[in-house]
């Protein structure tokens, strides 16, 4: 695929067309990318709700460090700040305090350069629904400076891998199921060869087959690319399967962070609970399932 990036960014870019696993070998670019893929330092975000109400702290002093090629899961109840954190890293929200760096590039000062390295798939597939997947993907390709024809060929290959036939690419997105739309959204994100991919509940609302296909594809991306992935999810089995490390947000704070195995072992050892991510989630979010359902109704996160 023809990319049109500055040399500095191109060095950091990860090819999306590669079908050869890296087998643990370090890419040449990786040596230059020994800086963390994502560095979040003491980030705080407040929102003022209503004219005279106190500011709500959506994110409180959160710090993260992700290495290249890692899949990092963020778990948390509805309203815990997962999507806000993703939006902050995406540059869709400004930071009140703290700092975000992507491969050493400061988000606040080098926003355009950072944007060339990242892409995001949100819980709602964001498309012009009357346009076809091909037209939506061509738009994305041009925005990211790619050759639309090469991008179209690449999109066909990615979508075929996700189970979407080429003949579907010319029909309006609105005629596709939600699961298919989400797959097109993932294909669109991968087209731009993001070095950092932000997956904000990408499988929420998908049927079991689609969910498994997307999860398998994320694993494939991890195996064949050096893309670093941040994944927010409510699906604990998904987090367990995909994530090398998990951070748990509660009330905007990062209350726990470790590998899935370490977290499970910790709650079993310290609390005498079954060694499952359900136990981990309940322990660190400090709520019952009923509380979460009520919160979801109130906040609709």
């Amino acid at each position: 695929m023809t990319t049109t990036l500055d040399p500095e960014l191109k060095r950091l870019q990860v090819p999306a067309t590669s079908s050869q696993p890296t087998n643990g070998r370090r890419r040449p670019a990786q040596a230059a990318a020994d800086r963390p893929a994502l560095l979040v330092q003491h980030v705080t975000k407040r929102f003022v709700v209503g004219r005279h109400r106190k500011p709500v702290q959506a994110i409180r002093d959160v710090s993260l460090r992700l290495e290249q090629g890692e899949i990092y899961g963020i778990l948390g109840a509805n309203g815990s700040g997962k999507s806000t954190l993703i939006r902050l890293v995406s540059g869709l929200l400004t930071l009140d305090e703290g700092r975000v760096e992507v491969f050493g590039l400061d988000l606040a000062r080098q926003e355009l350069a950072v944007k060339r390295l990242i892409n995001r798939v949100s819980v709602d597939a964001a498309f012009f629904k009357k346009l076809s997947p091909a037209e939506n993907l061509a738009f994305a390709a041009r925005l990211y400076g790619l050759d639309p024809r090469a991008a179209a060929r690449e999109a066909v290959a990615i979508l075929a891998r996700l189970g979407i036939a080429e003949r579907r690419l010319g029909r309006p997105v609105e005629q596709m199921s939600r699961g298919m739309q989400q797959k097109v959204a993932i294909a669109r994100a991968l087209l731009t060869s993001p070095t950092l991919l932000l997956l904000d509940e990408p499988t929420t609302g998908l049927d079991p087959r689609s969910k498994l296909e997307v999860q398998a594809f994320v694993e494939e991306v991890r195996a064949t690319h050096d893309t670093t992935i941040v994944l927010t999810t409510h699906d604990l089995a998904e987090a367990d399967r995909l994530c090398a490390r998990i951070g748990i947000l509660d009330g905007g704070r990062l209350v726990a962070e470790a590998t899935p195995a370490e977290l499970k072992e910790r709650v079993a050892r310290e609390r005498g609970l079954p060694p499952t991510l359900e136990s981990v989630f309940m322990t660190y979010t400090g709520r019952s399932l009923d509380d979460d359902e009520e919160t979801a109704e109130e906040e609709g996160d």
């Binding site: 939006r87 995406s90 964001a126 346009l131």
Partner: protein
């Protein structure tokens, strides 16, 4: 590839996307054309009723060229509202393109769309009334359309801020701005009949100069070189309003990012 070429290509992305959307909504485009032809005819027929050809032409030009300026204004002003409604606003805002690039792309398509639309409406009306346009200076009309578009682009960029800042009703607020321009710009009547304070406002509306220039070109057949008094205010407004529009949009985007208003609602 240079940064300039990359930005131009990104700008073209918005032109191509909007063209694709026009194709997909072709039925609606035809209905919109019929609506505009009917509206312009209804107003122009008042001149026909009075048996006054000059009044007929003046009303027709008011209707057709206000329609053109409205299209430019609405297209740009509704750029944000449209994306918010489709749910693509966050995706577009996190793409690595400068906001001026995005606005330039939307603007270019708006001008092209408006020119095609207006030409069709004008042709239908000329045929309907059997008007003799042999005295009309079409070049003057075209120059005023293009130069007038520039200042309307600036105003449109500032109007696009409203849907960014006011999530629920911002799009509707742009209509208020449009109706105020309609009121003070002498679209269907001479600005001389307005109260003194409204005439002051008419002098700062680009539509006043566009319509005056187009009327003098198409009705009186004057060349653009004799209408410098209408051209220079439009050029000054364009030079001031476009950078002001880009700057104001940037400030509004910053506000939206601080307050979380880019998020889709509804």
């Amino acid at each position: 590839m240079t940064a300039a070429v990359r930005e131009m290509r990104a700008s073209y992305a918005f032109v191509e996307r909007n063209f694709n959307l026009t194709k997909r909504y072709f039925g609606w485009e035809l209905a919109f054309l019929v609506y505009n032809v009917a509206g312009a005819l209804a107003i122009s027929l008042i001149g026909k009723q009075f048996g006054n050809n000059r009044l007929l032409l003046s009303l027709m030009i008011g209707a057709v060229f206000w329609n053109y300026l409205s299209i430019i204004f609405s297209f740009i002003a509704e750029t944000i509202a449209w994306e918010r409604w489709e749910g693509t606003l966050e995706y577009t805002m996190m793409a690595p393109v400068r906001r001026a690039t995005q606005l330039l792309g939307s603007t270019l398509y708006a001008v092209l769309y408006g020119l095609v639309h207006t030409t069709v409406v004008l042709a239908v009306l000329v045929l309907f009334f059997g008007l003799d346009m042999s005295r009309a200076n079409l070049a003057t009309g075209a120059v005023f359309m293009v130069v007038g578009s520039l200042s309307f682009i600036g105003i449109g960029m500032m109007a696009a801020i409203l849907p960014l800042m006011y999530v629920e009703r911002g799009a509707q607020m742009t209509f208020v701005l449009q109706s105020l321009l309609l009121l003070v710009s002498g679209v269907y009547y001479s600005v001389d009949i307005l109260p003194g304070w409204m005439q002051v406002l008419s002098h700062i509306s680009p539509a006043t100069y566009v319509l005056d220039g187009v009327r003098r070109g198409l009705v009186d057949g004057l060349p653009v070189t004799s209408l410098f008094g209408d051209i220079w205010p439009l050029l000054v407004m364009a030079v001031v309003l476009i950078p002001l529009g880009v700057w104001a949009f940037g400030r509004a985007e910053r506000y939206a990012k601080r307050t979380g208003k880019l998020k889709r609602v509804g």
